[in-house]
Symmetry: C2
């Protein structure tokens, strides 16, 4: 280029790119030794940033320097092998590099026509996952259904609710708006995103019934059936049920066959949210968690939680793609094109709320090909084993009790000394930086959650974590 330019040249990109790759490789080498939970106070990071944007460009080395000096102290290391909090959001080398290529290609996949590979690779990989996970074949693109990558399960569940809303009202809600008569259902242990979806979709929180759960924190289908009958009798319109495979609090498994049967009988959209736990189905011996999924209209799980694919990568499947597309489709003139009009292609913008979309299937493709089904199964099994071992240790220590069934990789437990002690224990552990775990409440009691799902977590990390928990418990 002869014109003046402030752009990074390909040669500079190569040099700085290597530097960033080195930075990341070093970060992952050291990550196990960093305090997991950031120790900064509110406003502390902001204070170290310049108050205004620079007038003149800065050297790349200066910017990269600040990653360590300014950013890292304020980072909680979600990729640390000592991270046992919330749900994992694990990443891996192939995912990061696949995502890098997506950033660099910078294509838009809103329509098939705007970059065909972006759509077709996504369809292909989501079909692969149907077999890999043993999902019902109706979710295949070659049947009447299909899958799409969204940002989060929150967004997918919202889209499921919208499709259910439109099916129930014969698309009247889309045309005339909601009328306050539609009623949705989920358990009182379901993820908060269902409540958010009910607000966003014009259904209203009061029209989302939080069905009570049994002693295992799973939805009670007989209560659901009763509530549906009652609402129907009151002139309301039951239209949507969301069941959870692995609740956020305690990993409870709702009974899909019974719930699905109720939905079928009442012609209600049946959605299943398996955000983290869905990945477990890679292993045939764990596939029982999704028994009954053949009754579902839609299904969502997150490879960006437990499948080594960095955020964001949520997979959303529908059994009847027409219902979804008819709900979300708008076709302005500036997006018209021959491929769309031929009907031979998917235009994924009609499968979710945003119009623009990046090439997210690349990272998932890289992950599946790098690990192979075998490698993914190996690591998922290993995580479950480690969690089960931890569970056993908790059981053997009289000071603690197990707070909920732990079918997979999440262990809910508590110190027998009451809420305050558990909070204190958690805070001390987290402040130490040695590990990070979080809490919930089950039956009103503060409960500690220990979730094994980090890419580089091994036996040693789980052992160390348990040792530290025992140590701090001894000091209470």
């Amino acid at each position: 280029m002869s014109e003046k330019s402030y752009h990074m040249t390909p040669a500079q990109f190569r040099e700085y790119g290597y530097a960033v790759i080195d930075w990341i490789a070093d970060y992952y080498k050291d990550i196990g030794t960093l305090p997991v939970l950031s120790q900064v106070k509110p406003g502390e990071v902001r204070q170290t940033l310049t108050p205004g944007a620079p007038r003149k460009g800065e050297a790349f080395t200066a910017i990269l320097h600040d990653m360590k000096a300014v950013i890292l102290p304020g980072v909680t290391h979600w990729q640390s092998p000592n991270f046992f909090a919330y749900f994992p959001a694990n990443a891996s080398g192939p995912a990061i590099l696949g995502d890098l290529l997506s950033s660099a290609l910078g294509v838009q996949g809103m329509l098939w026509a705007t970059s065909p590979a972006c759509t077709e690779l996504e369809t292909c990989v989501l079909d692969w996952l149907v077999s890999m996970l043993g999902l019902p074949e109706k979710f295949l693109s070659t049947s009447k259904g299909g899958g799409v990558i969204q940002d989060t399960a929150s967004s997918s569940s919202l889209c499921a609710m919208l499709a259910g809303r439109e099916r129930a009202t014969n698309y009247r809600s889309n045309r005339q708006g909601c009328d306050g008569r539609l009623v949705a259902y989920t358990s009182n242990q379901a993820h908060s995103s269902l409540e958010k979806a009910a607000m966003v979709a014009g259904i209203g929180l009061e029209n989302l019934r939080l069905i009570e759960v049994d002693q295992q924190f799973a939805m009670r289908p007989e209560v659901l059936a009763r509530q549906i009958a009652q609402d129907g009798a009151a002139g309301l319109v039951p239209f949507f049920v969301s069941a959870t495979v692995g609740t956020t609090s305690s990993n409870a498994l709702d009974p899909l066959p019974a719930i699905g049967a109720i939905c079928r009988k009442n012609n209600i959209w049946f959605h299943v949210d398996a955000a983290m736990s869905g990945t477990a189905a890679l292993c045939p011996e764990l596939r029982y968690i999704q028994d009954g999924l053949d009754l579902a209209d839609s299904y969502t799980f997150n490879p960006h939680k437990w499948m080594f694919t960095n955020f964001d990568c949520n997979c959303f499947y529908v059994a009847d793609r027409k219902a979804l597309i008819d709900t979300l489709s708008i076709l302005p003139e500036y997006l018209r094109n021959q491929a769309t009009e031929s009907g031979a292609v998917f235009d994924y913008r009609d499968w979710h709320i945003p119009l623009g979309r990046r090439f997210r299937s690349l990272k998932l493709w890289f992950v599946i090909r790098h690990y192979g089904v075998e490698g993914l199964q190996f690591h998922v099994r290993r995580h479950v084993e480690l969690a089960q071992q931890f569970l056993e240790w908790v059981r053997q220590d009289d000071r603690f009790e197990v707070a909920a069934p732990a079918p997979l990789n999440l262990v809910c437990f508590r110190h027998r000394g009451g809420n305050e002690r558990n909070t204190m224990l958690m805070d001390r552990l987290n402040t130490s930086g040695d590990l990070y775990l979080t809490h919930t409440r089950l039956n009103g009691k503060v409960t500690l959650r220990f979730c094994v799902g980090q890419t580089n977590t091994t036996q040693m990390h789980v052992e160390n974590a348990w040792k530290r928990i025992q140590e701090e418990a001894g000091k209470l």
Copy 2:
């Protein structure tokens, strides 16, 4: 690690990371010579992919090899300097590398507490942009407002509509659902995302009034005022107006001062969508496009369109953050923490629909620091100059007419030979692979859109494009 593992080691990551960086540097070196629009037919990419996932992991070199062999033929090169279609979605070296660090850190920014730097850098950079663009100070985080990064303007506009809905109903819609009486307004040239938002939010398409435009394709405020009065008299509740700064079809500028005054008078939420064109305000001489923005309740624009920051990076500002947060907030036990309860921090999950969120401010921070305000201004000015030059060439060629005012970087024009000829001209140009441009309809007439905004587009590329357009026009 002594345990068996299928993971990429840090040493392997370094090696393969370098290879990917090289791949990208080479791609950008060659990109100007590649056919811009992918020439594949529906299903062609899919056919070259293996029908099922591999049982065993594959070598990284094999995966990277397929990027060229399988993926690239199906890619439309949005980063090509010969891309003049739709709106740009431009990327740059610093953005790609900042995004790479975000993928690698893999932190979740849903709460301040889950990684403080992710929240505080975002707040800081969005405050920087307020000064950089000359936006009203009420959008600063240090006032009652603030900014957040979302995925797309579609999502931001939806959130604006929701906040407006809740303000108008005193949060009754969130609790009891919509009742079909709320009415929203935008111009008939507004982006299709407004229609989608009206459907999603339970308002209904029939309750979104598409206000007619003047001869410049800008909303007619007197028609808006009349419609609002009429709807109010009919017992409906006007609650939301979205004005556009640079419509998708023709870059028309709605008159914000007049529209804002109407909204103030009627206590209606006033949203402004400047998806692409907002970036122009980096240059003081172009800031007139946002005159009247001081009357807005919310504002959205996309650095991922024209500010060299790869997708996704939409900036959404509100004047009253409490209204937004109260609309979208849900706080389950498992997300409770001291920082949130202190009220001293932002929890950005309450500012949009998804819960999970990645560290997107890194790429924006990298871009602003690499270019400096000066470098960004330089390139935006250059794009506008190049588009204006193109406009002049169109004016001087009798075969063509200018179809709409071209205040910035988008030129709408058409061959005088009618719709069919324009479609034929476009198809031939796009099929040649030499450049890519798209169409719209203005007053029923097929209109070609030529948008200058690619990172590496220079005088030469625009000259070549015009030469090719003239050539093909000669053959019609």
